[in-house]
Symmetry: C2
Subunit: 372 residues, 2 copies
């Protein structure tokens, strides 16, 4: 019997997954993880109001959610000073990245990103037949000038920027991002991934302009809102772009419990502000741990801190040693930041536990077996 | 400023949504619906075990779900006598249809379906640049011979069949479906949507064969499992097809609360069996209502009954009159079944309420204003 008759695009794709999940690590090692610090989940949990709303929403789980997410879009619009026609609700930023790539990237079209940036963007570009062009990080941050230069040189259709950045944690000012937008070639779009924006200092997010077709803002309830498992996020874009997404999106893709939780969490600004301050405290703690051990840390405006352990083999060995001890962290995928390990900021007790394990491993680092 | 630089495919798509949701009706009329009988949700609710599992899962909503849905896939595999490599978990059958179309349909490729069948399939085919060829229903059921003939004549890559069917409720035997599969042209795939299979009599579902690349089985937790709002379903296909889906699917698209609920519900076979028997009772009730009013009903193996009110203008007028009275039902979108209204089977009290309202409208049907 012949094989399945795949489309030429899918047939030509290499097998690839964006991330190996911690569950797969647990299955591989047969050991449960005691500290889950590799996915930048909010280990402080969601807002109690969000949790309450989700509990209540379970009572109506037999009914489909509103495919237009009308209430949530109105609330998002009000928060950002735009209209509901500027807002699309998706099952997280991953879903939105897929939509945006599908909406803009014809096969053979160029997309620009940083080398080692969020791999799911690349996954979608390849998945729709686009070409990826990459710019190395510069001083462990996105090199905005080089991104702009490459976009103009390659006539890129989309440019991806996470600000604050993942996996470095570094960030640029709103002014610098706006300058990037203004410098892009005509007929290109910036996908501005602001998953971590709630952790960033004032002046990081450019003003939202619902009429600017050049920018798609991407927000999520997975990070500061503590609802990664619910899969919900949103995009802010021009009405024309939101209309294009409506032509292709999975209209019944968002869970109604997630919709209810997101709406409640969006209204609980106090919780998110308190959380951001707890995370800032945790970042300082991690920086202190780094100083004590003599391990440099990258500046971070996120809920993780990236520790510079000096080399890729050392980073990999430490990730493996941590994993052996039940601690899940990740190392960035490309140079020069693959010399680092990226560690989620959790509550104080989890940070202390991490400090102990990491401290012991670091002290004995001379005995780690380094792959070449 | 020029408009956004959409891909040629998306630029060429007409604006379209698969369904106008009941929430949009409520906003349009400014009135809350008292009976929601138009989306074939399980008005009996989910299994108490599923609800309990979902409540418990809320405690971990801050963490991403397992993108490989390992536990659930193992359970599904065990239920169907296949391996986990035969199973993909998606955010409902809609998501799976999108994946399947993307995996098989190159632009210009033909997909075959019945005229008036599930519109979301067509939405995805258009969305990926495919061409739709349609076969009219015959005796208010899918015309398997004509589907097969058309597939061979057009060298179709995919054929869509819902069995039991939506929106008619009718069904074919496993033997007839197997014969259809065997008659399809080489290098074509049957997307066998079995959303309503739990309500169907024995002998409706063909045996599952995990090695057959010609069929993709599609199942959901939205219907008999009562979890439409959770957005979760699964496909069973050859490992090669599941591998192709892995290259393109939204790996973090499924809510972890939904995963937990689905796993528990899959294990509660007693609940699903009891529910199917309650729904069968409800179908008989609807048939009795139809007989009393002199309105024919189509045979149904689903959780809805399709009432034949005689003509498309009458069906539309009755849907509108029901809506005026706060009752949401739908009428199929194409002849000859657009002479019908499709009504979800709910608990006895809701059926009685429907019977009253429908009875009054039917008695006064002479005064309804019929659009031409």
């Amino acid at each position: 019997m012949p094989g399945p008759p795949f489309s030429s695009l899918v047939d030509g794709l290499a097998a690839a997954v964006p991330f190996v999940p911690p569950e797969a690590l647990e299955r591989r090692t047969g050991k449960a993880l005691r500290l889950r610090l590799g996915a930048n989940e909010s280990l402080f949990g969601p807002s109690p109001r969000a949790l309450e709303a989700m509990q209540a929403a379970l009572g109506r789980v037999a009914c489909y959610g509103d495919p237009e997410s009308t209430e949530l879009r109105a609330a998002v619009a009000s928060v950002h000073g735009v209209t509901a026609e500027n807002v699309v609700v998706t099952s997280g930023i991953d879903d939105l990245l897929g939509l945006a790539v599908r909406a803009f990237v014809d096969p053979g079209v160029v997309a620009v990103t940083s080398l080692g940036a969020y791999p799911t963007f690349n996954f979608h570009v390849f998945g729709f037949g686009g070409l990826i062009e990459r710019v190395p990080y510069r001083n462990d941050a996105n090199d905005l000038q080089a991104l702009s230069d490459l976009a103009r040189r390659t006539n890129a259709r989309v440019v991806y920027l996470a600000n604050p950045d993942n996996p470095t944690g570094t960030w640029h000012s709103a002014v610098a991002v706006t300058k990037l937008v203004d410098s892009l070639p005509p007929r290109s779009v910036l996908l501005l991934d602001e998953a971590y924006i709630e952790y960033a200092p004032p002046g990081t997010a450019p003003a939202v302009d619902g009429d600017d077709p050049r920018v798609i803002r991407m927000r999520t309830f997975s990070k500061a809102h503590g609802m990664a498992g619910a899969r919900i996020g949103y995009g802010i874009a021009s009405p024309a772009t939101v209309g294009a997404f409506d032509k292709i999106r999975h209209h019944f893709g968002v869970n109604r419990i997630a919709q209810a939780g997101a709406l409640a969490s969006l209204g609980d600004t106090e919780y998110v502000a308190r959380l951001a301050s707890l995370v800032a405290e945790g970042r300082s703690h991690y920086e202190a741990i780094g100083r004590k051990l003599g391990v440099a840390t990258l500046p971070s405006a996120t809920n993780f801190v990236t520790f510079d352990v000096g080399s890729k083999p050392m980073a990999r060995a430490i990730v493996a040693a941590l994993q052996d001890r039940g601690v899940f962290v990740r190392t960035p995928g490309a140079p020069p930041i693959d010399r680092c390990i990226r560690v989620t900021v959790g509550p104080a007790s989890e940070r202390a536990e991490f400090a102990d394990v990491f401290g012991e491993i670091w002290a004995a680092r001379g005995s780690l077996r380094l792959a070449p």
